[in-house]
Symmetry: C2
């Protein structure tokens, strides 16, 4: 008889002070939970790591209730239903939801989506273009930004999960697309493989000068994933009636008391800028509008996408810290367990 | 024979460095200009002083071309047509436009509006509620802010020209209205005479604490006329999906290189705030929507308004500097010449 399989988890052990670190988490083994009435048991296959995880772990009220110490770390996962006492789910269903940094999760199905089988896409796609990442790029750029063909779209963290899609969607709708990224290789990738019109290496270049050079008609839309000085620099290049889409602030999440200095508020006024933040959960009811468009672009091979997949749930804390240092290219995932065989067959 | 009447003007003599001062202007006397084909001669009666005048004089590109040294200072005036070779204007017409800090102006009629005679309102009203000031409050609050009944509207410079109207309009549409003003008398005025729900004396009170106390359900809309630290404080009180209307930044206009520090950008993100600037000229084509509403409110005595009228064009530079020190209550005007007799008869 084999030893019984255990559940493994990362629980929040200490609120991060400054940089989030592996020591903020505690590794826990416990028996696999048993489903009760109306519940499902999910074996997680992939965990999505997102910059916003830092906010969830902060202990502060954000757009979700703060995690308490000792709770399983919150995270979006993709998994397979192994047991169900829920009328809407069957064993074998592939699902996605906020199922946490753990191998097995029990859920009442609230906020858990069953993924389609007919699209014949790699499973990871549902944590990328066909998941929260794709929706974030789509609704953020199109609904908050409201771009018109011919406008110039500047995007930060352009080799990241959302940024890499934003630049491509901007091109698909007829905009000029310029990305800020943190290495020569990332800059090469977004221009040569993703089709951005230009890339700026923010670690090597004077970004104000480079934005001016690569956006000769100014910036109409700035899609911001980083905040701080990059946001300030971009604001100084915004055209009349320009829009700043506040999607993320990764440069600020590790700050305990962020103070951001803006030197272009006069430009903000005289050019009648709009700066607007959004959280993708606000747009989830409208996801059915976006998915067919995104799927069509995938089928036409108009969207290129890259995953950075770390193997093993054990690696999640290190991978999250690495993401804050800009160590990933493309969407950061952690593979927790094996994909079911024959999924795409 | 009387000595011929001369034209008198304030011309820009030096770009202000820091605070705008009377020494930035030069007093010029010259012959009254003669109209040519397609032109009108206007005798200015009232000059409107507005915080944005500081930007116009800055020598910098803003939303209007920068004034050059030696040019007549730009300003919105109300006057009477004394001579016309323009088919649309007759002598005796009361007009308003950007006719400058001068007793007489010649214009081709571009941007000059003929005011209605039928409304039987005091002439000054057309530089107040029924002019750019009223339109600014109306479209800024309603179109940029999009308030709903029951929401809380916070407004800065609440005893000023625009702010005093914003708070009253907010009340008229069913919002809670809280104003920031710089003296006990201004605070008394906006609550007792204008009907604001509460006032905060920003020179005496801890504004963060006071905003919290007077906005117990948080701030849904912040109508900003001042910028800087006040904007930062307000941002820290904004509710989910709150809106910040950037109308003016009087605290910053005298700064050569303004750097504003914001400590609530995380709240901006997690509460999905929108901050949007506007210039009333963008809404002028829609003025016909607003005027009947404003006129109705005036007739029903639902809008209280106060002018601070300085006598004599000579006083304009001193009055402008005084406005930046918070010395005015209500709309600042300069009376340049006498109203025509019998206008309201």
């Amino acid at each position: 008889m084999n030893a019984p399989e255990m559940n493994t988890q990362w629980r929040l052990a200490a609120f991060p002070q400054g940089e989030i670190q592996p020591g903020n988490f505690e590794w826990v083994c416990e028996p696999i939970p048993v489903v009760g009435g109306g519940q499902i048991l999910v074996r997680n296959i992939y965990l999505s790591l997102d910059p916003t995880n830092r906010l969830w772990a902060s202990g502060e009220e954000t757009y979700l209730p703060p995690l308490k110490l000792g709770e399983v770390m919150r995270g979006i996962t993709l998994g397979i239903v192994e047991d169900s006492q829920h009328p809407k789910f069957q064993p074998g269903d592939i699902v996605s939801g906020m199922l946490g940094w753990q191998r097995f999760a029990v859920s009442d199905g609230e906020g858990v989506a069953r993924l389609p089988r007919a699209e014949r896409l790699p499973l990871t796609t549902y944590l990328g273009v066909m998941g929260h990442v794709g929706l974030t790029a789509y609704f953020g750029l199109l609904e908050i930004g409201r771009p018109s063909p011919g406008e110039t779209v500047l995007v930060s963290a352009a080799a990241g999960a959302v940024g890499s899609l934003v630049g491509q969607i901007a091109r698909l709708i007829g905009c000029r697309s310029v990305g800020l990224a943190g290495s020569a290789e990332k800059c090469r990738w977004i221009v040569e493989d993703l089709g951005f019109d230009a890339a700026i290496n923010y670690r090597r270049e004077d970004i104000v000068e480079s934005i001016g050079r690569h956006c000769p008609r100014g910036v109409d839309i700035y899609f911001d994933n980083v905040g701080g000085d990059t946001l300030d620099a971009a604001m100084g290049s915004m055209n009349r009636h320009g829009r700043i889409i506040v999607c993320g602030q990764i440069s600020q999440y590790n700050q305990q008391k962020p103070h951001e200095t803006f030197s272009h508020m006069r430009r903000f006024l005289v050019n009648r800028l709009r700066m607007q933040a959004f959280i993708i959960s606000d747009f989830l009811p409208r996801a059915p509008e976006a998915y067919p468009v995104l799927l069509q672009w995938i089928k036409e091979q108009k969207l290129t996408y890259r995953f950075d997949i770390v193997q093993g749930l054990e690696e999640a804390p290190v991978a999250l810290a690495r993401m804050f240092a800009g160590g990933n290219t493309g969407k950061q995932l952690v593979q927790i367990s094996a994909e079911p065989s024959g999924y795409l067959a």
